[in-house]
Symmetry: C2
Subunit: 338 residues, 2 copies
């Protein structure tokens, strides 16, 4: 089968790879309906993460179950399924508390930018849709497997809700879907930080009431001004840099919450700043599995359309161009047709 492999920074190739098979009784193998490139894939692409050996890429996926191991009970061949980027048993104490991405048996997914994918812990990881979804819903279901689930977790961690002012740092797919999540959670005012017209437009479509183009301390100062000097109640950090984290903390009022989901790179949070700010911090890899049933339902009801973050769709064979387009910010998020 064909799949995407990163050999070095900037060097993405589509290659012949071994066909994945059921190797554990809890495995499923799925045939991808669609996959995509993640903002976090750009870290190694840009050289910010080391690549020691060729790495099969991709951790966002929807598809049809092809085969299951003997212990798999909840999905069967032919089911259309949505997974998440961390496989989980969904039965351990951590999973039951809602933190499936911290599952004691968790397995980080990779190799989803391909025709087929082995999914470990299938019962705890995959959620089947009721029947086969219409083709137009596939991009939104694909978004649920990571960027929507991550934006949703960020908004929940930031305690977005009725009457709240929410600010969103990061105008990538996760940030934009954080805007959508905050709107669904009933936020009164949603401030999106963005300098790009296309992303600003999508942010507004997803529910942003205000756009701020300033960044860093200047951006935080604008949010303070907009909120009687207090700061937002809830701030989503969807970048992962020191500047973004400080911008998030400094945009938040005393007693407010930052939900951070940008994969931390150079972040060192000054203890004294956090202590003095009274800001609560919560985040990490999103427990997407917690939200999948609800998100699938909202998508099937056509209440939300998170698939709009895909502004580029290319055949799997053109993965290298998909990476380039995202790296150069010509695309918000690229879907790969399998």
């Amino acid at each position: 089968m064909r799949g995407v492999v990163m050999h070095a920074a900037g060097d993405v190739r589509v290659e012949d790879l071994p066909m994945p098979t059921v190797t554990e009784p809890t495995d499923a193998v799925i045939r991808l309906a669609a996959t995509c490139v993640c903002g976090s894939d750009l870290w190694p692409y840009r050289g910010a993460d080391e690549i020691r050996r060729p790495r099969p890429m991709g951790h966002e996926y929807v598809g049809i179950v092809e085969a299951v191991g003997s212990d798999v009970m909840t999905v069967k061949p032919g089911d259309f399924v949505v997974g998440s980027f961390i496989a989980s048993d969904n039965t351990c104490e951590i999973c039951r508390s809602g933190y499936q991405s911290g599952c004691v048996h968790r397995v980080g997914m990779s190799g989803a930018q391909a025709e087929y994918l082995r999914v470990p812990l299938a019962d705890g990881t995959l959620v089947a849709t009721p029947g086969q979804p219409e083709a137009e819903l596939v991009p939104s279901l694909l978004a649920a497997s990571d960027v929507l689930g991550t934006g949703w977790f960020a908004a929940a961690a930031a305690q977005a809700g009725p009457g709240k002012t929410v600010a969103v740092v990061g105008d990538g797919a996760v940030g934009l879907l954080g805007v959508l999540a905050a709107r669904e959670m009933g936020a009164e005012r949603i401030i999106a930080f963005s300098r790009h017209a296309d992303r600003q437009a999508l942010a507004r479509e997803f529910g942003a009431t205000d756009i701020v183009t300033e960044r860093g301390d200047d951006g935080a100062a604008v949010v303070k001004e907009m909120t009687h000097g207090l700061g937002a109640h809830s701030v989503i950090e969807a970048v992962g840099t020191q500047e973004a984290m400080l911008q998030a903390i400094n945009s938040t009022r005393a007693g407010g919450h930052v939900g951070f989901v940008g994969v931390s790179h150079d972040v060192e949070i000054p203890g004294r700043l956090l202590f003095g700010s009274h800001v609560a911090l919560h985040g990490g890899p999103a427990p997407v599995r917690r939200y999948l049933p609800e998100l699938i339902d909202l998508i099937r009801q056509r209440r939300i359309d998170p698939g709009k973050v895909f502004d580029l769709a290319l055949p799997l064979e053109d993965a290298a161009e998909a990476y380039r387009a995202m790296d150069e910010r010509r695309a918000i998020k690229a879907l790969l047709q399998v």
Copy 2:
């Protein structure tokens, strides 16, 4: 009047100071019934905080109202009052959300190690007890003004509650009262980190079910072992050093909470550690005012006896010895009789 002044690290003197007066219509002046030395007073005493000019010390206080400004409505001369270490208006949006220590008009208190004290924003800061308390309750009411309120906030920020395992880093007065708070909030298991027999004994008296003598990574490893490899649900950080903060984060399970109240000194929280841990962090200067009515009530009912943290009582004139005893860890907390 007499009051304590720190001139340099290790140099604490009791001196004649000007009598405080009502200078704003929202002020009260109180005659101290008792005051005390705080663990945070040891930072400048040990040279960890710079002292540019002689500093009147003390921010924990109970006493009798001597005089009030013309705008003060809720307390009157003769009332016995408990205050907190940050004066607050208790009416702004931040105060109403429960973060009085982040009040937009907040004033950090100092000069409470003295015979008299000016309290700004008296209506928003002071809480009068119903009638004059019995003398034996005074130490506990004094504890409410900082260390109890701080331990209480830490336990609340760590989401201590029924069924939870709570670990407490720091065996000073705040940590010990964090143990007491966790017990009052219904925690099932309370693990106190301590190497000192006297503090271990008080921790047990306040509700600790387990004592751990290891520190740092070793201490966190012991907590993990005690909790099936998962970590505690709730961890209180009551020290303020990098070692203590990392010990707290590393002792907490995915989806768990750290409540941190140790005044941050050398703390830099690695973003990647926090991201990967799924631990929620919340803390800062405790909004003691939020809890004062409830704490005063619990003390008056004799349901809690936080005054036990005072294992040394000295006349105000002997303040230098009180500092020395705490610095040398001969005393957990020293009360100063006024």
